[in-house]
């Protein structure tokens, strides 16, 4: 038990301040986590989903380019194939640099493998001007390879969409955890303040009132001061000093 009044009051308020600082720190930490989760949600999964969409777009355009080649529009077909290939490669680099989900690297590897195989089937058409592309070749080889790459890209996109959904669900939990320390500490601070008020009233105000009443009683009856102060702080010292003073005055 602390014996000096000022230290008692200081300790009481110190604990209250400590509790509020603690609640603030915990809330800040939880909000920082929440913020990191939002950032990762936007930067990680969304980036790959966007890249996957670009890859799918590039694949569709490549498919159109090949069909134009088959139809005899060689120059236009070659231009579309070149630009689509660049688009796919650029999107693929973004996706492969942004591996965030478990086993995502395996999915990226599959896309890379399937695309290489697909590209090897039509790549020669960009430089070879003599070979005529046919519908039968398209049906037997190109379309099958095209679907495989598309499927691999779709799987990569689904993986990231699921990751994004899970992260969004966790965000709800995290926001709850960031909010709760604040709510708990508000309730705790109210209870703490009531307790502090009780102790101040019980150990500071009440003894002073008792002393005043005893002094008033002394003025009427001239009896010695009798107050039941149980603490050992300055108020007890005050009681002793007043008693000493009364004894000296009464001779």
């Amino acid at each position: 038990m602390i014996k000096k009044l000022k230290y008692k009051i200081l300790a009481g308020f110190g604990l209250l301040i400590g509790m509020l600082i603690l609640a603030g720190t915990v809330s800040i930490l939880e909000f920082a986590r929440l913020s990191r989760s939002v950032t990762s949600l936007l930067e990680n999964n969304y980036k790959t989903i966007k890249a996957s969409k670009s890859m799918l777009e590039a694949l569709e355009r490549e498919d159109s380019g090949i069909l134009l080649l088959i139809l005899g529009q060689r120059k236009e077909g070659q231009n579309i194939l070149r630009s689509s290939d660049s688009l796919f490669e650029a999107a693929f680099i973004i996706a492969s640099d942004n591996v965030t989900e478990p086993h995502e690297d395996e999915y990226i590897g599959e896309v890379s493998h399937d695309y290489s195989s697909y590209k090897s089937e039509w790549e020669h058409l960009l430089v070879d001007v003599k070979t005529e592309a046919s519908i039968a070749w398209y049906n037997d080889t190109i379309h099958k390879e095209f679907l495989e790459v598309k499927n691999a890209v779709n799987e990569l996109m689904t993986l990231n969409q699921n990751g994004m959904y899970n992260m969004a669900s966790q965000l709800k939990e995290k926001s709850h955890r960031a909010l709760m320390p604040g709510i708990v500490s508000i309730i705790a601070a109210v209870v703490f303040s009531l307790l502090l008020n009780f102790f101040i009233s019980r150990y500071f105000v009440s003894p002073i009132i008792q002393l005043v009443e005893a002094l008033q009683n002394h003025n009427i009856t001239s009896r010695s001061l009798k107050v039941s102060i149980t603490s050992k702080d300055e108020i007890k010292m005050l009681e002793n000093e007043i008693n000493g003073l009364i004894r000296r005055i009464s001779g």
Partner: protein
């Protein structure tokens, strides 16, 4: 009543909780779990509120009965409030009603749960959940008395307001020795069971949690399927033995080890208690076997586990008793009402009262034939006063009335009759699972929130014994 003294003791209660919250927090930190911060924050709140009264309140010389009963009853409420903090801060399945239910169920060693997926909880939170059982098992006030240097008078007041009426008459020790006897038996049983479960093949973390739940006769498991998930006969046998030991008067266990005259083998109440458990097991075994539920060996295994589990108010499960024949369910309900012995960690009615009740009925039969006969009731060769006999009868009546009212209130909330009745019996007896919707493999999540609050009042009534709560509520009127 000197409220500052009550507050100071409640501070000790909070400090004791803080120790377990910090241990749980360390487990969470070591596993990198999301429950670390909620546990740490809850621990710090307990620390701050626990230390605060020490700044002002001088050493406590003695306590009055009213102060003792206030510390005991408010202490339990504070425990339950503090216990729900980590749950509610962590979130998941814990809404306000669910967190309160789980906390009260933990501290009162009831073991009823609202969790659909226990295994999804972080390990730190699982440990805290089991710790609430262990703290509540013999009561946090008892731990406080064990650790703190307290005056003889204060120790006496707190011990005797915390303990059941019947436990006091059976202990032959002084207040200080009683506390040490309980603590030694309690800690000893926990350590022994942990070691044996680990040897039997249970993971150490699970072994500690299940030991906490067994010795406190609680019933929280770390697995969704409770003990059934291990499917290990050795583990089941160990748990059966420790459930029985935890359901027996701790003073008698201690006396047996210390070679005292009044021990397990000389106590007629223990003999009768074990006979009841044995008879129940035999009846359930034969019913299950002859109805073709299981082969004989499996019937015996399942019956022994379930009868002992419910008869000691633990509440672990190896089978889904909700699908068993009505005859076996009624036998199990009898054991849920009877509960375990006074002086153990179990709550509820207590077998000793049933023992006195049966003896009193026999006395009435004799009095019908010989109206002028002077008959005294004896328990373990000690004469039972008329006052104590009357108190036991009053308690049994109040007990029945309480779970009748609870059943009524639950049916008012449209809970089906069997679920409402078994949930009321299971919660006031601090048993855990009931039947119907709240069966041994089900949970209390589906009940309405108001129903959950009603059942938590039941749990506290069962744990604190109804008369203690009435005495606490009467303090103002006495004045």
């Amino acid at each position: 009543m000197r409220r500052e003294y009550v507050i100071k003791y409640l501070g000790y209660v909070l400090l004791f909780n803080a120790i377990f919250l910090f241990i749980s927090c360390l487990i969470s930190v070591s596993a990198g779990e999301s429950s670390a911060l909620p546990l740490f924050f809850s621990g710090m709140i307990c620390m701050i509120f626990g230390f605060f009264p020490m700044i002002f309140v001088e050493p406590i010389p003695e306590l009055s009965f009213n102060e003792g009963i206030s510390i005991s009853v408010i202490g339990w409420l504070i425990n339950c409030i503090v216990g729900m903090l980590p749950y509610i801060m962590w979130g998941g399945e814990f809404t306000l009603a669910n967190a309160w239910f789980e906390s009260v169920s933990g501290f009162t060693t009831t073991g009823s749960s609202i969790l659909n997926d226990v295994e999804s909880l972080p390990r730190g939170l699982l440990f805290w959940r089991s710790s609430t059982h262990w703290i509540g098992g013999i009561g946090v006030i008892m731990f406080v008395l064990l650790i703190l240097p307290t005056s003889q008078n204060a120790r006496f007041q707190l011990l005797y307001t915390e303990m059941s009426d019947l436990s006091k008459t059976n202990f032959g020790f002084r207040a200080k020795r009683t506390i040490y006897v309980i603590a030694i038996v309690y800690i000893g049983l926990t350590v022994m069971e942990t070691l044996l479960l680990t040897i039997a093949g249970m993971d150490f973390f699970d072994a500690v949690n299940h030991s906490f739940a067994t010795v406190a006769t609680g019933g929280f498991s770390t697995r969704n399927l409770s003990i059934a998930s291990y499917n290990n006969l050795m583990i089941e046998v160990i748990i059966i033995v420790f459930m029985i030991l935890s359901g027996i008067h701790f003073g008698l266990l201690f006396n047996t080890l210390a070679g005292e005259k009044q021990n397990l083998f000389t106590s007629k109440v223990v003999r009768a208690y074990l006979l009841f458990l044995f008879t129940g097991t035999v009846l359930v075994t034969f019913k299950l076997y002859f109805d073709g539920y299981f082969p004989f060996g499996e019937s015996l295994r399942a019956a022994a586990f379930q009868v002992v589990s419910l008869g000691t108010t633990t509440g672990f499960a190896t089978k889904d008793t909700a699908h068993w024949p009505a005859f076996t369910q009624l036998i199990l309900i009898y054991f849920m009402i009877q509960c375990a012995m006074a002086g153990s960690t179990s709550g509820g009615l207590k077998f000793d009262r049933m023992f006195i009740f049966f003896k009193s009925i026999r006395k009435q039969f004799v009095l019908i034939r010989h109206p002028n006969a002077l008959i005294t009731l004896k328990v373990n060769n000690q004469t039972l006063s008329e006052q104590m006999e009357g108190k036991v009868m009053d308690f049994i009546l109040l007990y029945i009335l309480t779970f009748f009212i609870t059943t009524l209130l639950l049916t008012l909330l449209n809970v089906d009759l069997f679920t409402a009745f078994s949930a009321s019996v299971a919660t006031i007896g601090n048993v855990g699972p009931g039947f119907g919707q709240v069966g041994s493999m089900g949970n209390f999540a589906g009940l309405p929130d108001a129903g959950k609050f009603i059942l938590t009042i039941n749990m506290l009534m069962g744990r604190l014994e109804i008369l203690s709560i009435i005495a606490f509520l009467m303090i103002g009127r006495n004045r």
